[in-house]
Symmetry: C2
Subunit: 359 residues, 2 copies
């Protein structure tokens, strides 16, 4: 069942991709099995992260980027040696076998009022459904402690394994979670918008440090030049050693498409510039995800294999009653978990990565 | 040293409070020791969470709330039985021994360009420094996996132990991290602002579900009524069982102070309404923090006591080379950590909560 799904994902079947991402989103164990099965076939897609505050026009910008990327032919057949949709590191993939060339994962906080993706995304996804070679998927915010970053990363792996050339991860917000998601992309784009209060707010959001490219969208609005100046002014405070990428500041009007080609060109420039740094960044991404995963597995083990039913709740009650402090309670729980080697984690089969033969 | 600091915190010494929060922010082990030492003296303060997108005027609103709260005399001496700054559940605290009655923790993402809190916050903190009984502190975003929520929670405990009646936690952003911080406050206020794009953006941010009170700030702007209608419209889609709190939607112009008294009244109404639910919420907060803490301690143990130097890095290298998938690697790491009972965590002294005698 799962291996069939994996095979269909590797063949680029959009329905299999959608099914796989649903399993991942639902934290179904077979989602992890699927990622295991396809993992050796990943690492080829270029991952673009796009974030920014609500109302910055990210969705429209991403839609325009998708169209511009689609206009590029894969494998440099446009004659441009820097076409983003080419796969410079691998030459063995047959373009003909690929049904999806651009994937979008729109991270979309769940609202209890809608039960999932809001209307705007549904409309948007339908608009793209007929567009062959484009896969758009909203993912909802669920769980804590990096669950969203994990699910987003696994969904990107699915698209990667399916032969997608470019994966765009789009998040709403400027919180730590978005920063964690976006900073591990191959290139990070931060969208800003003029006129949402004083410009320092844009800089308050911890986003200066993660942007490879700033895009001031809705640049036909009053204050666009002032916002560009503010961002440039902040960049000027930072010294970029020779050879280090200095973030670009671009302007777009996504609704009309103005400036979008320049964004694609900037992405291509960044990709060319950072071929070496990309490996470092991908390792950082792997490390972040590994830590998060180990931590999650440990908590599952603690609650399932070590603690009795309701025990965690009773400890919480004792904390609430101020009978024990959280640090002492945490140490006690940790001690019990690692001193119970006879209670080994269940459901941790010895998976080995099966290297699929190159097709 | 630490016990002296704890004593000074319990006595309400602002410099000791500042020092304690710095230790917590820096993840200094003595910060955890301090929390242990003061924990039995916490649980009295009422915690107000304020969040919203950048540019919504949260800082100004919070400043106005502080002033309005300060205008209330503690212990219902205004004659109002619902004065928020009173401590209805405890009658033994001497108001005279208290030097801080309102504390603000402004969660402020670190920018590498400034090395910490941005200029706006520094200016703001200075403006309040002379205001006796008010403690304002910015905390920077550092680390991953709930580090910010932990630090914010511990800082609130410090203010609580120092006798602060009301702690306001203010975060910029609408991401999962902010949601996690704010949803565990005693009351959650979500600020919105008209005219930052289509109103659905406000609802996209996963914030509908966490708000007890919506505040449409800058309500003198065009579009304020439309935004209020959009929020009310969404609330109307949800059925609130009899006795359940239905979120209020208020309008303010924080720069002029318009509507701020109504916000304080709404907080007081919510507090009165939710005396029972508050216990449930505080337990949820304790549980969240306990999980996060155990998880953090486990990772520290894994890296310090189980893995050899550079071993995690070499596993990451193998993942990057697609020799092993992250799920298999995570299971292997977990297995090793819990099968190594001879390698017990260091630096986990057997602390007991010392119950301080009531003063």
């Amino acid at each position: 069942m799962t291996s069939t799904l994996a095979e269909r994902v590797l063949a680029g079947d959009p329905r299999a991709i959608a099914r796989a991402i649903s399993l991942i989103e639902d934290e179904d164990p077979s989602g992890a099995d699927l990622v295991r099965a396809i993992f050796s076939r990943t690492g080829r897609a270029y991952v673009i992260g796009v974030t920014g505050p609500p109302g910055a026009g990210k969705s429209t910008l991403v839609d325009r980027l998708v169209a511009a990327l689609k206009a590029q032919r894969p494998h440099g057949s446009t004659g441009s040696p820097q076409a983003l949709a080419s796969s410079p590191s691998k030459g063995t993939v047959s373009a003909g076998s690929r049904s999806i060339s651009v994937g979008v994962i729109a991270v979309d906080p769940t609202s209890p009022f809608t039960g999932g993706a809001v209307l705007g995304d549904r409309v948007r996804m339908q608009a793209h459904a007929a567009d062959e070679g484009v896969f758009i998927r909203s993912m909802a915010t669920r769980g804590h402690l990096g669950g969203l970053a994990r699910a987003t990363g696994d969904a990107a792996l699915v698209l990667d394994a399916a032969g997608t050339d470019v994966v765009i991860i789009e998040t709403v917000g400027v919180g730590q979670d978005e920063v964690d998601i976006i900073r591990t992309a191959d290139v990070s784009i931060v969208t800003l918008v003029p006129g949402t209060g004083d410009e320092v707010q844009a800089l308050k959001a911890g986003i200066m440090e993660i942007a490879d490219i700033f895009v001031v969208n809705k640049a036909d609005r009053d204050g666009a030049d002032r916002l560009v100046s503010a961002v440039e002014g902040n960049l000027a405070l930072h010294s970029y050693p020779s050879g280090e990428w200095r973030p670009l500041v671009l302007q777009t009007v996504a609704t009309s498409g103005h400036g979008v080609v320049e964004v694609v060109e900037a992405i291509t420039r960044f990709r060319t510039h950072s071929e070496g740094a990309q490996t470092v960044r991908r390792k950082a991404r792997s490390e972040y995800r590994l830590r998060e995963l180990v931590s999650k597995r440990f908590m599952d083990h603690l609650e399932r294999d070590v603690l009795g039913a309701g025990e965690l709740r009773s400890i919480v009650d004792r904390i609430a009653a101020r009978e024990v402090d959280p640090y002492t309670a945490a140490n006690e729980l940790l001690r019990r978990a690692i001193q119970s080697p006879d209670q080994l984690p269940n459901q941790l089969p010895d998976y080995q990565v099966t290297r699929s033969p190159d097709s």
